[in-house]
Symmetry: C2
Subunit: 236 residues, 2 copies
Amino acid sequence: MSAQLASNAIMFDIRTAKRSIGIAPTQTTVTSIDDGVEAMEMMGARMTFDRDAEIFGESEAADFVYRVVSGAVRTYKLLSDGRRQIGDFHLAGDLFGLEAGAEHRLSAEAICKTEVMVFRRANLFSLAARTPAVGRALWAETARELERAQTHLMLLGRKSACERVASFLSALGEREPKASEIALPMSRQDMADYLGLTIETVSRTFTQLQSDGVISLSGCRRVHVKNRGALARLSA
Amino acid sequence: MSAQLASNAIMFDIRTAKRSIGIAPTQTTVTSIDDGVEAMEMMGARMTFDRDAEIFGESEAADFVYRVVSGAVRTYKLLSDGRRQIGDFHLAGDLFGLEAGAEHRLSAEAICKTEVMVFRRANLFSLAARTPAVGRALWAETARELERAQTHLMLLGRKSACERVASFLSALGEREPKASEIALPMSRQDMADYLGLTIETVSRTFTQLQSDGVISLSGCRRVHVKNRGALARLSA
DNA sequence: CGTATCGTTGAAATATATCAATCGCAGTGG
DNA sequence: CCACTGCGATTGATATATTTCAACGATACG
């Protein structure tokens, strides 16, 4: 694994630790020394992965849960002949690799140099067993993933190439509602494998959206959304 | 809602009630009178829905969880112009309509005359708050749904029409590993909207699989799998 | 037994894929 | 600093899988 284990995190406040795995800190309070110990165990180690480095593989033991600190991650499945379907992209702040079962059901790779925090699943589980709020937060996270997958199903099953690209850009744009400039950490191939298209079709669609005045490209990894409304309408 | 509320269930054993919502009965035991009361509340009312009757709609309050007793259910999303993507089919024994959040994110309809058991979500939640095993079972159920969705994404994004139909039949066939006869409760349109195809393509693929000797059709709702291996191979 | 709905088949249209060539930028070494 | 190199992106021409449009057939239902 082409990753380097960085120094352990230095935070000590349990609320910070819990926020760092996506659990609202107001929902739990420090009530005992055990919780303090738990907090230390919960705090993730930081790791960095190079571009295209594997973070975990499909059907590997899911002993860790990850949170993107910086960079971007793709999760995907492969068919035996190499066809790839990307399930989701995970950007800064996103959790990934959380499984209810013992094994990962998708593989995960860093899209670019990526820093993540790593949490022991066993610690989350034991914490959840004692703190109902934590258990519910884990469930809610899986439910969020499911919701995204269901939206993705609609995109793949029933939308045209143009609608897929527009939906994708719209969704990315909504992560920064103020900014109209979208940075694309992923390649055209990654987008194609996420959208169920080929690179050529993705590329052609970008240039068409550009000539229609909906977006403008400044280098292939930087999109300026000139007409957010049009993009939303094209998303169907 | 074209459904009739049947007489309340008559079971009283809490283990039966818990098994009926998909929680391994061995993991919990009756320890108090409260549990007994809980069991009564848990036990679902039986309801029947006519063909094409709506069970719940997208973004409706998710106050109930359902289990198919007999018949079949489709869950789906619609685009504003009427395009439909079916998320999943639920057959006898399957749970559906379970949400971590307050609202349903898909609509559900009976495919044929269908009997379901209905459970109050609030009861499940309060039980889960006290019984970690129940909470984990709910999470596991959502995780199962997510896993199915991820497989479905692969199908829609990267498989050919023939591979989609073969995958679909294979998966249905695996529900009855012994029997080689598959009953299709759903129409060609339902299959098309599940597989991201048109009815014509589904129909043509069926006839092609038949002329290739992989399946044989006895009436359009009954498929005899003549060559399970070939079907699996065609599923990619 | 008639009628409506669903499924099948055919022919033509089209969106997207495939194959192939060129472009352009980022990194590298002279 | 500039040319060289290589990979990713774009563009073009062509192929093709699937859709669309249309007619016909079968099946279930009243």
